[in-house]
C-alpha cells in the first residue's frame, strides 16, 4: 500500500533538469534537489519524466449498459495504468447520458472507483438521435457539472440543431464536441475511401464526409460566437479547415486519437476487425499532417476515443464487427513514439497536449495544472527508456481490442498519483 507522503527523486519535470518532488496532503509540497525522505516513501526516478496527470477528453466507459466490455471501475483502472487522472466519459451508453440522472450515476461511479476522476459528457440530443435537444442545462446544473456535450458515435448533422446547441451551451460556458461525419456520405461505410477500399471492396468513408461537417460547424461557431470542439479529427483536409478557423480567431479546438497518429488504412488489408474504427484509419499523408498539426498546436490535444468491445464483436468478419479500439493504456507510448521520438514534440509539449489543454477545453478544475508547489498532486511518472511489446493480456481494461498487440512501443507509466494518492506504483495498479 502507498503512504500519503511520497518523495520522487531525480525525475525530470516536463523533461527538464532532474529534481526531487515531495507529495504530501494531496498536493505538491516541495520541489528541490537533495530532499530528505523524512518518513516519505521514496521513489527513485532517475531518467524518468514527471508529467501532470493526463486528461482524456474522449473515453467510452460503457457503463451503464455494456458492462460486458467495460465498467467505470475497469475503465478508470485502465486510465490510471495509462497515466490518466481524469477522463471524460462519453454519452453513448445504454441508457444514453442525456439526463441529469444518468450523468450523475456515471459521475458517482467514478467517485467510487477512486482510480481517476470521471467527468461525464452529456448527450447533445435526446437518445443521440439528432432531433431534439437534451436537457443540457439540467446536466450542467447536476452534481456532475457537465460542460462538454457530444452525440459522439453519431454526428449532430442537422445544421439547425447544431447551431442551437452551440448557442445554448454558452449560458454555462459549455462546449459541443462534434463527431464530424456526414451521415448520407457514409452510408455503409467500412473504411477510408481510397485506393485500399477500392481494392478490398469495402464501403468507403470519404474524407469529405468529415471535412464538410467541420467546415460547416466552424462557420456556425463563428456565426453564433460559440465554443466548438472537433472530436477525433482524422484527415489532412480537416487540419486545413481547423487551421483556417483558428487563423480567424474563432473559438475552435480539436483532438486527434493516438491511432490516427500511427496507423493507416493499409492495415485493413488483413481484414482483421481490430483495425475497424470510426473515423477510419486514413492514409500515410493524413497521419503525417495530423502529427504536424498536433506539433504546431492546430490540433489542441490527444484524446484516446478508448472504445472497448467484447471479444466476439471483433472475432468475426469485418462487416459484422464493431467499430473502435482501446486507447487508454497505450496512448502515452504511441504519442512518445510518434511525436517525441520523432522530435516533433518535447515532453512539455506532451504535457500541454495530453493534460493542460484537454483540461482547459473541459473546464476541469484541479487537472491540467503545472507541476509546482501547492498544486493538486495529479501526476504521472513515465520511464521513456522502456521498450516492450504491447500485451493485452496485462491490460486493466475488461476488453482486449488493441491494434497494437505484440507491437513494440516505447515508454511506460511507472507511477500515477491522483490527488497525492498513488493509483499506479512501479507499473502496477494499487
Amino acid at each position: 500500500m502507498s503512504t500519503d507522503t511520497h518523495l520522487i527523486r531525480g525525475a525530470r519535470i516536463l523533461g527538464g533538469e532532474p529534481a526531487d518532488v515531495r507529495i504530501a496532503d494531496g498536493t505538491v509540497a516541495e520541489i528541490g534537489t537533495g530532499l530528505t525522505p523524512d518518513g516519505a516513501e521514496v521513489i527513485e526516478a532517475d531518467g524518468q519524466i514527471l508529467l501532470p496527470g493526463l486528461v482524456d477528453l474522449h473515453t467510452h466507459l460503457r457503463e451503464p449498459g455494456r458492462e460486458d466490455s467495460e465498467t467505470v471501475l475497469t475503465g478508470t483502472r485502465a486510465a490510471a495504468a495509462g497515466g490518466y487522472t481524469a477522463v471524460h466519459a462519453m454519452a453513448n451508453t445504454f441508457p444514453v447520458a442525456d439526463t441529469a440522472g444518468v450523468v450523475e450515476q456515471v459521475w458517482r461511479l467514478g467517485k467510487e472507483s477512486g482510480y481517476c476522476d470521471v467527468q461525464p459528457v452529456g448527450a447533445v440530443t435526446i437518445g443521440l438521435e439528432g432531433k431534439q435537444l437534451a436537457e443540457l442545462g439540467a446536466m450542467h446544473d447536476s452534481a456532475a457539472s457537465v460542460r462538454v456535450f457530444s452525440d459522439d458515435g453519431k454526428c449532430v448533422d442537422d445544421a439547425v440543431i447544431m447551431r442551437r446547441a452551440l448557442e445554448y451551451v454558452k449560458a454555462f460556458d459549455g462546449v459541443v464536441a462534434q463527431h464530424a461525419q456526414e451521415p448520407r456520405l457514409t452510408e455503409g461505410a467500412q473504411m477510408n475511401e481510397g485506393v485500399v477500399s477500392a481494392e478490398l471492396g469495402l464501403g468507403g468513408w470519404p474524407a469529405v464526409a468529415e471535412e464538410a461537417i467541420i467546415a460547416r460547424d466552424v462557420l456556425l461557431a463563428a456565426h453564433v460566437d460559440s465554443r466548438l470542439h472537433i472530436c477525433h479529427l482524422s484527415t489532412a483536409g480537416s487540419v486545413e479547415i481547423v487551421r483556417w478557423a483558428k487563423s480567424k480567431g474563432w473559438n475552435v479546438t480539436a483532438e486527434v486519437t493516438p491511432h490516427h497518429l500511427l496507423l493507416t488504412d493499409e492495415l485493413v488489408r488483413s481484414y482483421d476487425p481490430v483495425y475497424k474504427v470510426n473515423p477510419p484509419l486514413r492514409t500515410e499523408a493524413d497521419v503525417m499532417a495530423l502529427r504536424e498539426a498536433l506539433a504546431d498546436g492546430t490540433i489542441d490535444c490527444v484524446a484516446t476515443d478508448h472504445a472497448p468491445h467484447p471479444h466476439e464483436d471483433k472475432d468475426c468478419e469485418w462487416g459484422a464487427a464493431a467499430m473502435g479500439m482501446l486507447g487508454l493504456e497505450t496512448a502515452l507510448s504511441v504519442v512518445q513514439h510518434t511525436m517525441v521520438d520523432t522530435g516533433l514534440l518535447d515532453w512539455a509539449g506532451v504535457a500541454d497536449r495530453m493534460s493542460f489543454r484537454p483540461a482547459a477545453i473541459g473546464r476541469l478544475a484541479g487537472h491540467g495544472r503545472p507541476v509546482s508547489v501547492g498544486e493538486p498532486a495529479n501526476l504521472t511518472l513515465v520511464d521513456p527508456s522502456y521498450r516492450g511489446a504491447v500485451d493485452s493480456a496485462r491490460f486493466a481494461s475488461r476488453s482486449r481490442n488493441t491494434p497494437y498487440q505484440g507491437r513494440e512501443l516505447p515508454g511506460r507509466v511507472t507511477h500515477t498519483f491522483l490527488r497525492g494518492r498513488a493509483t499506479v506504483m512501479d507499473g502496477k495498479l494499487v
Binding site: V195, S197, A198, L200, G204
Partner: protein
C-alpha cells in the same frame, strides 16, 4: 505451401495458366460417358452460402461431385446462421465435421479471408464471391472462355496466356466482385483491360488499378477483343448512381448497333444473370458472339481444376500461402 483461393491477385501468371490448362483437360471429361473422376474420393467439400446464388453453388457442387468428393451444402437461409450464429461458430461446426474445403459465398467483403486466416478451420478456403470484393473462380472461367475464343487453336490455347488481348469491362465496377477479380487476373495473364462505367460507378482509387478507365463505351468498342457486360442492379438507380434505366441503357448498354462497332472476332461476355434491356439487349444476348452459356459450362471445368489443384495433393499447386507453413516431407 498454398491452400486457399481468396483473391485473383494471389495467382501468378504460371498459377493461372496451370489452372486454365488443367481445366482444359478436365473439360474433356464432360464429353465422356462417365463424367466422373475418382480423384477426390473421401474428401468433403462444403458449400457455405450466406447469400443466395444457385448458379454458383450448383457449379461448385457439380465440380466437386465430378471429382468424387462428398458435397455438403450449407445455406445460411433457414439455418442457425439466420438465427444469429456467427461465422466463427459455423466454421467450427464445419471443422468438426471434417471439411477438407469450404467454398464460401458471403455478403461481407473479406469474410473468406477471415475464414482462411483466423485459425477457425484447417481446410482449404475457396472464395465463391465476397461482398463487393472478389470472385476469383468467375475471373478464371472468364479467362478460360477468352483463351478458348481469342487464343484458341485445337487445344484451347493450352500453355498460353492472354498477352495483348484487349478486354473491356462495362457496368457497375464499384459494386462488382467480378470486375475486381477480372482486373487482377486478366492483367496477370497479359491482357489489357479497360473499365467503362458512369463515373458514379467507378470506385475512388481505381485510378491506381493496372487498367484504363473510360466513360465512353463507343470509343472503346472498336478497340476491344472482348466486352464483358456486368449486371447492373436496378436498385442502384434509387441511390442516384444514374438517373434512369433508359439513360443507363442508352449510354452504357450493349445493343446490336453498338456490337457492330466491335471487331469481327470480338466476343461479348456476361457473368449472368442478365438484365435484358438494361446492360444488354436480347439481340446481343442471343447472338453467336455472346459467350454467356459457354461461361456457365466452363465454370464447372474451372472449379474442378481449382478443387483438384487445391485439394488433391499433399500441398496445393496454386493460391494463397497458408499462414503457418507446415511443409510436408518431400516425397517426389
Amino acid at each position: 505451401m498454398k491452400r486457399h483461393l481468396i483473391s485473383a491477385a494471389d495467382l501468378t501468371r504460371d498459377d493461372a495458366v496451370l489452372i486454365l490448362d488443367t481445366a482444359e483437360e478436365l473439360a474433356r471429361v464432360a464429353d465422356r460417358t462417365i463424367r466422373k473422376l475418382p480423384t477426390l474420393r473421401g474428401r468433403t467439400v462444403v458449400n457455405l452460402f450466406f447469400e443466395d446464388s444457385t448458379r454458383t453453388r450448383i457449379s461448385f457442387e457439380a465440380a466437386a461431385k465430378r471429382l468424387s468428393a462428398d458435397v455438403i451444402n450449407f445455406s445460411a437461409k433457414g439455418s442457425s446462421v439466420s438465427k444469429g450464429e456467427s461465422l466463427k461458430d459455423t466454421a467450427l461446426t464445419l471443422e468438426a465435421m471434417g471439411a477438407d474445403a469450404v467454398v464460401i459465398r458471403h455478403h461481407d467483403s473479406g469474410a473468406p479471408h477471415r475464414l482462411a486466416t483466423s485459425g477457425w478451420i484447417g481446410g482449404s478456403v475457396v472464395n465463391a464471391g465476397d461482398g463487393t470484393h472478389e470472385h476469383p473462380t468467375q475471373a478464371l472461367l472468364d479467362a478460360f472462355t477468352l483463351r478458348r475464343r481469342l487464343v484458341g487453336g485445337a487445344d484451347g490455347g493450352v500453355g498460353r496466356d492472354l498477352a495483348g488481348r484487349r478486354v473491356t469491362i462495362v457496368g457497375d465496377i464499384l459494386h462488382s466482385r467480378v470486375a475486381r477479380s477480372g482486373v487482377h487476373l486478366l492483367t496477370t495473364l497479359g491482357a489489357e483491360v479497360t473499365l467503362v462505367a458512369p463515373p458514379t460507378l467507378v470506385p475512388i482509387g481505381a485510378g491506381r488499378w493496372p487498367c484504363e478507365v473510360s466513360y465512353d463505351l463507343d470509343a472503346v468498342l472498336p478497340k476491344s477483343d472482348a466486352v464483358m457486360m456486368l449486371r447492373v442492379q436496378r436498385e442502384r438507380m434509387q441511390a442516384a448512381f444514374f438517373p434512369t434505366e433508359r439513360e443507363y441503357a442508352r449510354r452504357y448498354g450493349l445493343d446490336g448497333r453498338r456490337m457492330a462497332r466491335m471487331p469481327d472476332h470480338a466476343v461479348v461476355m456476361h457473368p449472368g444473370p442478365m438484365n435484358r434491356g438494361m446492360e444488354i439487349t436480347a439481340e446481343v444476348a442471343d447472338s453467336d458472339r455472346c459467350t454467356a452459356v459457354e461461361q456457365v459450362a466452363n465454370g464447372v471445368s474451372i472449379r474442378m481444376a481449382v478443387l483438384y489443384l487445391l485439394l488433391s495433393g499433399a500441398e496445393s499447386a496454386v493460391g494463397t500461402p497458408a499462414p503457418t507453413p507446415t511443409r510436408s516431407e518431400e516425397t517426389e
